[in-house]
C-alpha cells in the first residue's frame, strides 16, 4: 500500500547539509496502523512530509497504491494529495477566517467533485463524529486546541483518503484529550479501513500499533 525506497531528505543550509532522512526503506500494508517513533530531530516529520506529498525527497521514491507520487506533475500531485491522502499536522492548521464546517468542506470543494450541499452535510457529519456537533458554525479561534485538532482530523477525512497521516496530532494536548483523539483516529482505521501512519512520542499509544517504525538520525532502528 505504502512503500518507501531509499528515501532521503537533505536540507541544504548555510551551515552545511543536514541529512534528516537517509536511504530509508519502509512498507506499510493496506488498512494497517503503523506508529513512527523516535527522538526529537530524528527525522519523523521529514519522513511524513515526503510520504504525504508535501516535501520533495532528495532521493528515493514514495509509492502509494502503486503510484510513485513524486513522479507526478505539480497539479496531479495536488489532486493526489487532495483525493487520497489525509494529513493531520503537528500543530493547529485550520484557516482562521473560515468556520469549522468550511474548513472541513474545503478539501472537497477544492477537489470540485460533489455538490456543495452534500459536501456540507458530510462535513457536518464528520464534525459530529468528532464530537463537534454544536460547533460547526464556530470559528477556529472560538474553540479549544483539542477541538481544533479534531476538526483538522475531520478535514483530513472529508475526501475518504486511503492513507491518513498524523504527525504528533496530540503533542500539545492534555492526556485525556490525547486519548480521545487517538480513539477517533484508531476508530477511523478500524471502521473505515483507512491506513493510518501516526507519529507519536507516547510509547503506550505506539504499542497498540500493528507496526512500529523506530527511527534515529534518519535511519530505521531494528
Amino acid at each position: 500500500m505504502l512503500a518507501c525506497r531509499q528515501l532521503s531528505k537533505t536540507y541544504r543550509t548555510e551551515r552545511g547539509d543536514v541529512d534528516a532522512v537517509v536511504e530509508l526503506d519502509l512498507e506499510v500494508e493496506a488498512g494497517c496502523y503503523a506508529a513512527i517513533i523516535g527522538r526529537s530531530g530524528s527525522g519523523k516529520s521529514s519522513l511524513m512530509a515526503m510520504i504525504g506529498g508535501l516535501s520533495r525527497p532528495s532521493g528515493g521514491t514514495v509509492t502509494i497504491d502503486g503510484t510513485d507520487i513524486w513522479r507526478l506533475g505539480d497539479d496531479a500531485l495536488a489532486r493526489f494529495r487532495n483525493g487520497r491522502i489525509g494529513f493531520v499536522f503537528q500543530f493547529a492548521s485550520l484557516l482562521p477566517t473560515l468556520r469549522l464546517v468550511d474548513n472541513v468542506a474545503l478539501p472537497a470543494m477544492l477537489g470540485g467533485a460533489r455538490s456543495s450541499a452534500s459536501t456540507y452535510d458530510k462535513a457536518s457529519a464528520l464534525l459530529a463524529r468528532m464530537g463537534l456537533r454544536d460547533r460547526v458554525d464556530a470559528y477556529p479561534s472560538e474553540v479549544s486546541a483539542g477541538e481544533q485538532r479534531r476538526a483538522a482530523i475531520a478535514r483530513a477525512l472529508i475526501n475518504d483518503p486511503v492513507l491518513l497521516l498524523a504527525d504528533e496530532p496530540t503533542s500539545d494536548l492534555d492526556e485525556q484529550t490525547e486519548i480521545e483523539i487517538m480513539d477517533e483516529l484508531m476508530g477511523v482505521n478500524r471502521e473505515l479501513g483507512t491506513t493510518l501512519v501516526l507519529v507519536t512520542h507516547n510509547l503506550a499509544l505506539a504499542e497498540q500499533a500493528e507496526q512500529i517504525v523506530h527511527i534515529a538520525n534518519g535511519v530505521l532502528v531494528a
Partner: protein, 403 residues
C-alpha cells in the same frame, strides 16, 4: 468552489482592516491622481487647441504706410484706404508662409446698423481661406455661409436668421462670434468678400469711393507660418519678395504661453508616471510582505490539495479586489478634486485667453475605466511574483513558515 476561495480572499482583506484600508487609500491616491491628471490634461490640451486656433495669425501683411493697431489676437487687419492685390501673397509662393487669408475692411458710417452716426467695420473675408474669423463662431445657422449672410461680433445682438439692413440692403444674420476682447471686433460685421463687394454701390452713395470694395483688392493678409518656419524668416521672405508692404507680427508672448503650458503638461505627465510607478512598487512590496505572512496558509491550502493555479488565483483575487476598490475610490476622489478646483482653473486659463472646455463624457468615462483597470492591474502584477514564488515551494516548507 469559486465562492469559497473568493470568500477566503475577502475575509483575508477583512482580517487586517487597517492595512487593507491603507492599501486601498494608497491605490486611491494613485488612481485619483492618474484619472484627474489625464482628464485635466486632455481637457486643457483640447481647450488649448481650441484657444490657440482662435488666437489668429502669426503675421499680418498690410500696405506700407497703413496704420496698424496690433492687438493680442491677430484676427483682422486694420481699416485703411490703401489696398493690395488679392493674389499678391499667393503669387509669391513663399515657403515660410503656411496659410494666408486675404481680408477687406471698410470702416463706414450711416450704415443703418446701430445708431445713426456709429462707425462700423465691415469685414470681408474669403470663407475658404479664412482661419482667424470662423473659429470664433459660437453660434451659427445650421447651413453653410451664403452670399448675403453676415456674422456679427459678440457685441451685437440680433437673433440668428433675422434680417439686417445694411445701407438699406437686406442681409441674413448667419452667426455670432465669441468675445475677443477687442472692441472693433466685437462691434464688427463680418461677411464673405463678395457680399461686401456687392455693397459697394450703396456705400459709395454716402461718401467717397472706397478702393477696397473693388473686386481683386484687399486691405491685407493674415499669415500663418509654415510648420518650422520662424516669424523672422517669413518676414524677411515677404519683404524681399513683395513691394509696398509691411509686415506686422502679433504678440510673441502667446507662443511663449503655448510652449509654457505644453511643458507644464509634459511635467504633469512625467509626475503621473512616477506616481503610478511608485504606487505599483509600494503595492508589490506590501503584497510580498502579505504573501510571506500568509505562507503557512498557502502551504496549508496546497497541503489539502489546492492546485497552484488555485493558490495563485486566491491571492490575485484578494489583491485585485483591494486595488480595484482603491482605483474606483480614486476616481471618485478625482472627480471631487476637479469639481473643487474647476473655478480657479477656468479663471486662470481664461486669463491666458484659453476658454476652458471639459473633455466629453465618453472620454472622461474612458479615463475613469482606465484608472480602475490600471489599479487592478497594479494589484495583479504586484502580487503575481511573490505569490508565484511562494506557490512553487514545497507545501511543508510553507507550512513550517521558514524563509
Amino acid at each position: 468552489m469559486r465562492g469559497l476561495l473568493a470568500n477566503l480572499a475577502l475575509q483575508n482583506l477583512g482580517r487586517r482592516k487597517a492595512r487593507t484600508l491603507l492599501l486601498i487609500a494608497a491605490v486611491a491616491v494613485g488612481s485619483g491622481a492618474l484619472f484627474a491628471g489625464a482628464t485635466l490634461m486632455s481637457s486643457i490640451e483640447r481647450s488649448m487647441a481650441v484657444g490657440f486656433t482662435r488666437m489668429g495669425a502669426d503675421l499680418m501683411v498690410v500696405p506700407d504706410g497703413a496704420l496698424t493697431n496690433i492687438t493680442a489676437a491677430l484676427l483682422t487687419v486694420e481699416p485703411t484706404d490703401l489696398v493690395l492685390d488679392a493674389d499678391l501673397v499667393d503669387k509669391a509662393s513663399l515657403t515660410s508662409v503656411g496659410r494666408s487669408a486675404p481680408q477687406k475692411i471698410a470702416r463706414v458710417e450711416h450704415s443703418g446698423i446701430g445708431s445713426h452716426h456709429d462707425s462700423v467695420d465691415l469685414i470681408g473675408f474669403d470663407p475658404a481661406r479664412d482661419f482667424t474669423i470662423q473659429p470664433w463662431l459660437v453660434e451659427k445657422l445650421n447651413r453653410g455661409l451664403q452670399a448675403g449672410d453676415v456674422i456679427l461680433g459678440a457685441g451685437r445682438d440680433a437673433p440668428l436668421g433675422s434680417q439686417l439692413l445694411i445701407f438699406g440692403k437686406p442681409h441674413v444674420v448667419y452667426g455670432r462670434l465669441g468675445r475677443t476682447g477687442v472692441g472693433t471686433h466685437e462691434r464688427g460685421v463680418f461677411m464673405a468678400s463678395a457680399t461686401l463687394e456687392a455693397l459697394a454701390g450703396a456705400i459709395q452713395g454716402y461718401g467717397k469711393p472706397m478702393p477696397v470694395l473693388q473686386p481683386g483688392k484687399v486691405t491685407g493678409f493674415l499669415i500663418e507660418l509654415a510648420p518650422g518656419a520662424t516669424s523672422l524668416q517669413a518676414r524677411f521672405a515677404i519683404l524681399s519678395t513683395l513691394q509696398g508692404v509691411k509686415v506686422v507680427s502679433g504678440d510673441t508672448t502667446l507662443s511663449g504661453i503655448r510652449q509654457g503650458l505644453t511643458s507644464l503638461l509634459d511635467g504633469i505627465l512625467v509626475l503621473m508616471i512616477v506616481m503610478l510607478a511608485s504606487t505599483a512598487l509600494m503595492v508589490s512590496v506590501l503584497f510580498s510582505a502579505i504573501v510571506t505572512e500568509r505562507r503557512g496558509e498557502l502551504g496549508l491550502l496546497k497541503a489539502i490539495g489546492a492546485r497552484r493555479a488555485q493558490v495563485l488565483g486566491m491571492m490575485m483575487v484578494e489583491a485585485m479586489l483591494a486595488t480595484g476598490i482603491g482605483g474606483a475610490l480614486g476616481v471618485a476622489l478625482g472627480v471631487l478634486v476637479m469639481r473643487l478646483y474647476e473655478r480657479s482653473l477656468v479663471y486662470n486659463l481664461d486669463r491666458l485667453g484659453v476658454p476652458f472646455v471639459w473633455d466629453d463624457l465618453a472620454r472622461t468615462v474612458a479615463f475613469a475605466a482606465g484608472a480602475v483597470v490600471l489599479s487592478v492591474l497594479v494589484g495583479a502584477l504586484g502580487v503575481l511574483y511573490p505569490a508565484w514564488r511562494a506557490s512553487r515551494r514545497d507545501a511543508y516548507d510553507l507550512v513550517r513558515g521558514e524563509a
